[in-house]
């Protein structure tokens, strides 16, 4: 794992170029261009916001107000998480030409996917922050944001490495993955608040490492509470284990990647 991180560092210039290429290529030829970075989470926000404000108002606890802002705080990081993993599951196959014809470490490709999605996430942040300011909820607590961000980054990278290598050998993983992510989404406090859960549900949620990451966002941004709950430490450990696992699997399958994609 350490070695792979060193490799990634050595290739930082390439990663940087590929991320900016990824962003440029994605938005070239679109009228709205970079605006899509915000529009995707905004549309998601609108959909869920409408459903749970007007159609299923009883689903969320009454304490969460304004609900749209609460949703936004969770949807933005979740979009980064799930898009990264979903996209990286196909990135090695899509970039097969590179792996087969050019010598370069394949882990760059899932890393670039995670980072490119991180850039989208960061581009959405100013809008979220603007809303928070408008609601008067933005405070010093936002300065602690790098902590959940780092935990999420490590966890996303680990899962991206894991699934990208696995999909090369097992093509049906990516179909499974979208369902898995869907399930994970509803098992994570994005639409609802962790605080509103009780009993065995709450215990189950605590076992999900993403729960604590989302809690941190909710605390630091929506709640404007300057605290990091101990659960996040558990998530950090889980994230490191996932990264080690992903890096290990990727390394094991590395030699066969060029032949199988």
């Amino acid at each position: 794992m350490i070695q792979q991180i060193q490799t990634l560092y050595r290739y930082r210039l390439l990663i940087h170029s590929l991320v900016s290429r990824e962003l440029k290529a994605r938005y070239r030829g679109n009228i709205l261009g970079f605006m899509w970075s915000f529009i995707n989470p905004l549309m998601l926000l609108l959909t869920y916001g409408l459903v749970f404000t007007y159609m299923l108002p009883g689903f969320r606890g009454p304490t969460i107000e304004p609900y749209f802002l609460f949703l936004f705080c969770g949807l933005l990081p979740w979009t980064w998480f799930s898009s990264s993993i979903l996209e990286s599951s196909t990135v090695l196959i899509a970039g097969g030409n590179l792996i087969k014809k050019v010598l370069f470490p394949a882990e760059i490709l899932p890393t670039v996917t995670v980072l490119a999605n991180f850039v989208h996430f960061m581009l959405g942040m100013p809008i979220l922050l603007a809303f928070l300011v408008w609601e008067g909820r933005l405070g010093l607590s936002a300065l602690l944001l790098p902590i959940p961000l780092l935990v999420q980054m490590v966890m996303t990278l680990g899962l991206a490495l894991f699934f990208s290598a696995l999909t090369v050998h097992f093509r049906d993983v990516k179909d499974l993955l979208s369902h898995l992510l869907n399930l994970w989404f509803f098992s994570t406090p994005v639409l609802y608040s962790y605080a509103g859960m009780e009993g065995p549900m709450r215990t189950a949620l605590r076992l999900n490492p993403m729960t604590h990451v989302l809690n941190a966002y909710h605390d630091l941004l929506f709640g404007n509470i300057l605290r990091i709950r101990s659960g996040l430490a558990g998530s950090a450990i889980a994230a490191l284990i996932l990264l080690a696992l992903g890096a290990f699997l990727f390394d094991r399958l590395r030699d066969t990647l060029a032949e199988e994609v």
């Binding site: 210039l13 390439l14 170029s17 590929l18 290429r21 440029k24 290529a25 070239r28 030829g29 030409n97 590179l98 792996i99 087969k100 014809k101 050019v102 010598l103 370069f104 696995l166 050998h169 097992f170 093509r171 049906d172 993983v173 499974l176 030699d255 060029a258 032949e259």
Partner: protein
């Protein structure tokens, strides 16, 4: 110079054979059958390279030849580090640039300029180095006007040129080239070869995989011939190319022998459709006649009496007809005709034209037509043989039922090669060709030590 740049020791590479049944393993199948990490049975593997050993000294230009599927590209991928050998050791000393697939890393949506940047970084340059070389790269690719357009708007030639330009400007110590010199037009190919020549002069190591034997002969210091993943010959390029040509001639020999009546042996010249040409020249294969005299068998015999189907210019060979005489006749003519594969009549004669007077054909026997000195250029030729009456009524007429091939190292054109030589008065300094003109098909194990010394160009 003595330190080798590339060392391969008994390198083998096995690939998994993709069976029709399980093209891709699925997670479900792995979970159900538990074969996630199961070893593959030998019948599920394909040996692309088997115990390949060779050394390339620093500054050497090394050619690798072989038929399609002989493992050349696999070897290149191993050298480039893209895949790992299944067994054996492989080491390359120095920075490698592999011209395996040009522009492999290009992204169609972004401009040529940005692609040059990223491609350069992928090949190991830093931003400043690319900026320094950027103008050279663009000038080399002749894409000044289009460099800011998205790569998806490029023609395939422009794409390849840009890919080649970037790869060649990486200034590698070891350059791997895979049959990429067929990019763009004559002029650009010339430029690529010049650039590779410049690399040679600067003492860089080059490994070329190619089907162009002339290139190997001209540019390489050493050569390697692979067949079915095994090294058949290595060393002096002239000798290796000769051995390879002999083998190819032998394979064609076998092919022609197996099919005594080829359906219009295809001509290798581009832009020719043999079928169409046949129609054009009214040449149709077939056999007709009442067979009072039957041509039972046609054999092509080399001067040593062995049956062959591939000959070299200048050689003597005969067309031997085994003739069965069913009815004794007094009026008979034997004739022969030669056609190119696209139906051009090269030569025709018969005993009547040449004023032989038939007396009687009474018993079975043999008739031979002897070429004393074969004067045809390289190509496939069809033979007509016939026995008929003086008025032309056929006994047995075999049109285009047999063929032979002429194989030559000299790629002269046309049909007929007159016996010739060049003469120059003083004032013209010109070097005679370094290799001997013709292959020696009769002695397959020949050595090349009888030829002149080879001067690299």
């Amino acid at each position: 110079m003595s330190q080798p740049a590339i060392v391969a020791q008994e390198v083998s590479k096995l690939y998994r054979r993709f069976l029709h049944k399980n093209q891709f393993r699925t997670l479900k199948s792995a979970l159900v059958n538990g074969d996630l990490l199961a070893d593959l049975a030998p019948d599920q593997t394909f040996t692309a390279l088997k115990d390949v050993s060779f050394e390339v000294p620093k500054g050497c230009t090394y050619g690798v030849i072989g038929e399609n599927g002989s493992g050349k590209s696999t070897l290149l991928k191993l050298l480039a580090g893209i895949t790992k050998p299944s067994s054996g050791r492989l080491s390359v000393d120095g920075r490698i640039s592999a011209l395996i697939e040009l522009g492999a890393g290009f992204h169609p949506e972004i401009s040529g300029r940005e692609n040059v940047m990223i491609n350069g970084i992928m090949l190991g340059l830093n931003r400043r180095q690319i900026e320094e070389r950027f103008d050279d790269i663009v000038a080399f690719a002749e894409l000044e006007r289009f460099i800011d357009a998205p790569v998806k708007t490029y023609s395939s030639g422009m794409y390849m040129r840009l890919g080649f330009a970037v790869a060649i400007h990486v200034e590698p110590e070891v350059l791997l080239v895979d049959e990429v010199l067929a990019v763009g037009d004559e002029g650009f190919t010339r430029k690529c070869l010049d650039k590779i020549g410049e690399f040679r002069r600067r003492g860089r190591t080059i490994l070329i995989v190619t089907h162009s034997l002339g290139l190997v002969d001209k540019m390489c210091d050493e050569a390697l011939w692979l067949r079915h993943g095994e090294v058949i010959a290595k060393g002096d390029p002239k000798r290796v190319v000769d051995e390879y040509l002999l083998y190819v001639a032998g394979a064609e020999e076998k092919h022609l022998a197996q099919e005594p009546a080829p359906e219009g042996e295809p001509d290798l010249r581009p832009g020719r459709d043999p079928q169409e040409d046949h129609a054009l020249h009214g040449y149709r294969q077939g056999r007709w006649g009442a067979r009072e005299i039957e041509i039972a068998k046609v054999r092509l015999l080399a001067s040593d009496g062995r049956a062959r189907h591939v000959f070299v210019p200048g050689e003597s060979f005969s067309v031997a007809l085994d003739v069965i005489v069913r009815e004794s006749v007094e009026d008979f003519v034997f004739g022969i005709g030669i056609y190119t594969a696209d139906g051009i009549h090269v030569y025709g004669t018969n005993t009547h034209i040449e004023n032989y007077k038939p007396q009687i054909a009474a018993a079975d026997g043999e008739v031979r037509f002897v070429f004393e000195d074969l004067r045809l250029v390289e190509g496939t030729y069809l033979i007509d043989v016939a026995a008929h009456r003086r008025d032309g009524t056929p006994y047995d007429y075999l049109r285009g039922q047999h063929s032979f091939r002429v194989k030559s190292r000299i790629k002269d054109v046309g049909v007929y090669r007159p016996a010739h030589h060049w003469a120059f008065s003083e004032g013209f300094e010109i070097q005679a060709p370094p290799f001997r003109a013709e292959l020696d098909l009769s002695d397959a194990g020949s050595d090349a030590n009888d030829s002149d010394t080879h001067e690299p160009v």
